[in-house]
Symmetry: none
Subunit: 483 residues, 2 copies
C-alpha cells in the first residue's frame, strides 16, 4: 500500500536527478570550448594553463575588478554588471572622483561602492577602456607560438616573419620591416614637431615611422640568427631559465643603447634610477617580443611553488600575496593577449623606461619630455597604422605598461628568473661593461643634425655617477665601449 506511493516518489526523484544530470552534462559539454583556455596565460591563477579541465570545475568567470560573477567582457575585461555600469557612467559623463583615504581602498564585491575613486582606478588598472573588445575586430587572442624565434639580441630576425604573430589569426600583417634603416628623406621637418618621416620607396598604404620612435627601433639591433624552441608550453624550468637569461641580456643591451643615446637629455645620474625601476617591465616586453612569455610563467609558477613548500607564512600575508599574484597574472595575460608589432613593442619599452614616477628621480622634467616624444610618436604611428578604428590604441598600450610597472616586483622577477643565486648584478655588470659595440649601426645614414632625438654619435658618454644605494650598478656602467 505505502509501497506504491513510495515507488512513485522514488520514480519522481530519479527522473529529477536524471534530468539534472542531463542538464549538467549538456552544460559541461558546452563548456568544453573554454575560450580562455586557448591562451597560454589564463585570467585565473591557474599554474598549468595547458591543462584546462583539471583546475576549476566551476566555469564561472569572475570580475577582474571586484571578483563578483562576470557577465562577460565589458570594455575589454571580464567584469560584472556593476563594474560595467560604473565604468560606463564614469567615462560617459567623464566623472572624476576623489578618495577620502589613501587611494588604497579595497575593491571587492562588498566594498566596491565605498570609494568610487579607487574603484575606477582599479577598473583602469585592470585594463578597462572606452573602446572595448567589440570594435577591435582584429582579435587580440593570440596563442603564444610553440615555436618561437629568439635572436641573440632578443630582436626578431628581420621583418614580420620573425615575429611570433600568427598571421592567420586576424592580425593584419605588418607591412613594416626596419623602415628606419632605409635611407632617410633628403629633408627633415622642423625640430620639436612630431613630424613624420616618409619612407623610401613610398608605396601607398605604408605606415609612417615617426622619427621620434626611430632610435627605439634601431636599438633593437640587427637580426642575427635565432633560437628555436619546440613547444614552449612544455619547457622545463631549466630551459625556461636559459631563455629568460638570454632575453634579459637582450633587454639590458637595448637599455644600454637607449640610455646611451639619450644621455644628453636625461642626466646620467638618473639613468640608473630609470633602469632600476623599469627593467622588469622591459624584460617582460622583450619576452613578449620573443614569444617567450610562457617561459616567465613557468619560472614564476616554479618559484611560487618552491616558496610555498619552504615556508608557511601568516594567513593574512598569504591572502595579500595571492591577490598580488592574481594581479600579476592578469596583467601578463593582458599583455599576452595584446598583439603588438615591433614598433609598438619598442615604443612600449620607451614608455616603460621613461617614466617620471620613477622613485628618487630629480630630473622629472627631462624624463617627461622624453616620454612625451615617445607618446606622441606612438600616437602618430598608431593613427597611421590602425586608422580611427582603434583611436585609443596608444592609450591602451600606455595603460598596459603602467599596470605592468605596478605589478612587476623587481626582486620577485629576479629571483624567479635567476633562481637562488640571484646574479642580477653580474649580468648587469656584464652587459654594461661589454666591449662590443652597442649600436652597430654607425654606417646608417641617420640624419646627424636631427634634434628631435639625438641619435648617438658613439662618442663615449661621461662616466655616470651612481647613487650609493643603487644595488647592482657600479660606476661607469653606462659608458659605451669606445674606451
Amino acid at each position: 500500500m505505502q509501497a506504491e506511493w513510495l515507488q512513485r516518489i522514488l520514480a519522481a526523484q530519479l527522473a529529477q536527478w536524471s534530468a539534472a544530470a542531463a542538464a549538467a552534462a549538456a552544460a559541461a559539454s558546452s563548456e568544453d570550448q573554454d575560450p580562455a583556455a586557448t591562451a597560454g596565460v589564463l585570467p585565473t591563477s591557474s599554474t598549468r594553463p595547458q591543462q584546462p579541465p583539471e583546475e576549476e570545475p566551476v566555469p564561472v568567470i569572475e570580475c577582474v575588478v571586484c571578483g563578483d560573477k562576470a557577465s562577460g567582457k565589458h570594455y575589454g575585461q571580464f567584469s560584472c554588471e556593476g563594474c560595467k555600469s560604473f565604468f560606463k557612467r564614469s567615462i560617459r559623463r567623464s566623472l572624476s572622483y576623489s578618495c577620502r583615504g589613501t587611494k588604497t581602498c579595497p575593491v571587492d564585491i562588498h566594498h566596491r561602492n565605498q570609494c568610487q575613486f579607487c574603484r575606477l582606478k582599479k577598473c583602469l588598472k585592470m585594463g578597462m577602456r572606452k573602446e572595448g573588445s567589440r570594435t577591435s575586430r582584429g582579435r587580440a587572442n593570440l596563442l603564444p607560438p610553440f615555436f618561437f624565434h629568439l635572436t641573440h639580441n632578443g630582436a626578431a630576425n628581420g621583418g614580420p616573419a620573425g615575429f611570433p604573430l600568427p598571421p592567420g589569426l586576424g592580425v593584419p600583417p605588418f607591412p613594416f620591416s626596419f623602415p628606419g634603416l632605409l635611407p632617410p628623406p633628403p629633408s627633415h621637418i622642423s625640430p620639436h614637431s612630431s613630424s613624420s618621416l616618409p619612407l623610401l620607396p613610398p608605396p601607398a598604404h605604408l605606415p609612417l615611422l615617426p622619427i621620434s620612435l626611430a632610435p627605439l627601433l634601431l636599438a633593437e639591433g640587427p637580426p642575427s640568427g635565432h633560437v628555436e624552441c619546440a613547444d614552449a608550453a612544455h619547457l622545463s624550468p631549466d630551459a625556461a631559465m636559459e631563455i629568460c637569461s638570454r632575453v634579459l641580456r637582450a633587454t639590458l643591451v637595448w637599455s644600454r643603447r637607449i640610455l646611451a643615446s639619450s644621455g644628453q637629455e636625461a642626466p646620467q645620474i638618473e639613468q640608473a634610477l630609470l633602469l632600476h625601476a623599469a627593467w622588469p617591465t622591459l624584460f617582460v616586453l622583450q619576452l613578449k617580443q620573443a614569444g617567450a612569455l610562457t617561459a616567465l610563467q613557468i619560472l614564476l609558477a616554479d618559484s611560487g611553488k618552491k616558496k610555498l613548500d619552504e615556508a608557511l607564512e601568516i594567513n593574512e600575508r598569504d591572502d595579500e600575496k595571492a591577490e598580488e599574484d592574481k594581479l600579476l597574472h592578469h596583467q601578463l595575460y593582458r599583455l599576452n593577449e595584446c598583439a603588438m608589432d615591433m614598433m609598438e613593442t619598442a615604443a612600449c619599452k620607451g614608455l616603460a623606461l621613461f617614466h617620471s614616477d620613477t622613485p628618487g628621480l630629480t630630473a622629472r622634467e627631462a624624463v617627461e619630455r622624453m616620454r612625451e616624444r615617445v607618446v606622441t610618436g606612438l600616437e602618430e604611428y598608431c593613427r597611421a597604422r590602425r586608422g580611427d578604428d582603434e583611436i585609443d590604441r596608444a592609450d591602451t598600450l600606455q595603460s598596459i605598461i603602467s599596470s605592468l610597472r605596478t605589478v612587476l616586483k623587481s626582486d620577485e622577477i629576479a629571483s624567479a628568473v635567476l633562481g637562488e643565486a640571484c646574479k642580477l648584478n653580474e649580468i648587469f655588470l656584464d652587459v654594461f661593461s661589454a666591449p662590443t659595440p652597442l649600436l652597430p649601426l654607425p654606417s646608417f645614414p641617420i640624419p646627424p643634425t636631427s634634434s628631435i632625438w639625438p641619435m648617438p654619435t658613439f662618442r663615449p658618454p661621461p662616466p655616470s655617477i651612481f647613487p650609493s644605494s643603487f644595488p647592482f650598478l657600479p660606476q661607469g656602467l653606462l659608458r659605451t665601449t669606445s674606451d
Copy 2:
C-alpha cells in the same frame, strides 16, 4: 511596465503548465490561456485584480505600515518615504525603542511618529527586512496557478511539478522530492544534534533533509489522486467552499498525525490548545500548498460582503475592521508571494503549531523545545538548499508565520469557510475520531531509537483531558484509531 510584468508571469505560467503536463497525470484537458485571468492575491483590496482598468483608475499604492502614499517597495514592502527612512535608521544604528503604552499604539499617517517602538514593530510585522527585494529580484512575484492540483490530503502529487514554482523566474530548480521517504543511512548521528540525513543514492550537491523535519514531511501522507479546478480565479463561492472544506480536513489530518507523534513531548492536555490556536494558520498554509489560496480569498470577500449587507456597524468599528481586513489581506499576499517548497511549507506548519505564545499553555518549555527543533532543522535545510544568498530565509518564514497567526481570527476564518452553519466542531470530531490509520508509515526504517523526534509507534495515546472552555474538541479527540 505592467504589460512586461504580465508577459513574464504568463511565460512562467506557460512553462509551469508544460512541466506540469509532462509530469502529472491527465491535467491537460482544459488549458484555458486567458491572460486576463491571472488572478492573484494583490496588495490592494481590489476583489477582481484581473480587471485593473475597471476598478481603480488611480494606481496609487499605500504604505503597508502607515497607509501613506508609498513611493515604491522598500526593504521588501511597499512603504512611504518616512517609513523607509525610519526603518533604515532603525536597522542601521540597530536602535531599540520602548513603548510607553501597551505596545498597541496605532500606527497610521497621523500617529506614526508617536511611538517608535510600535512603528518599528509594525514595520517588522508587515515584513520589512534588511535584505530588501534587491537580492532576490526575480524570486517573488508568483501568482497562484490557474489550474491547481489538489490532492485530497493537500499534498502535491510527488515532485516539484506539483508546486507553483515557475522555473523561468530565476527560482533555482529544486532537486529534491520527498527525500525524507528514502531509507535513512545505516547510522544516525548523536541525539539532540540537528544532524542531516543523507539521501540515497547520494549524488553531489543535493540538499540534505534534517531529520528533525522528517516527521513534518511524512505527516503529509501519500499523494492519492487530485482534484482539478479550472480557473481558480473564477471559482464560485460554492466551489471554493468545497475546496476549502477538503483542505481543512487535510489540515486536521496532518495535525492529528503530528500531535499523535509528538505525544511524548507535548502533554496531551496541551495539544488541543496548540491546535486551537494554530488551525487557521495551518489551514492557510495547507491552502497555499494546494495552490488554493484564491479560494479563501473568494470566501473572505463573499463573507465580508454579506456582513456589510446585513448590518451597519458603528463607524469606529468599521474603521478598525477595515484595518484588520487590510492587514489580513496583506499577510495573505505576502504568503502567496513567497515561493516555498514542500519541506518549507511543512516546516512552517510546524512553526505555526508549536508556538509558545499559545494562550493557556502551561508546558511552554516542551513546546518551545519542539519549536526549536523545527527552527534548527529549517535553518539547516535553508542553508543547504539556498546557500548563503538568502541567509535570512528561515527568519523570513518565521516572520510570515508569526504575522499570519496574529491576523488570522479563528471565528472569521471559520465563518467564511464554513458559512452560516459553522460545522467546525463536526469536522474536527470527524477527523479526530476517524478509524483510518493516521500514519501509514510504520514499515519505513526510520531509526526507532532516535530521540531527536520520537517517531510514532502507533500505540494509542492516552485519552486527552480537555479544558472545559475548549469550544469544539471533546475528550478523547486526539486518540488514534486502534480501539
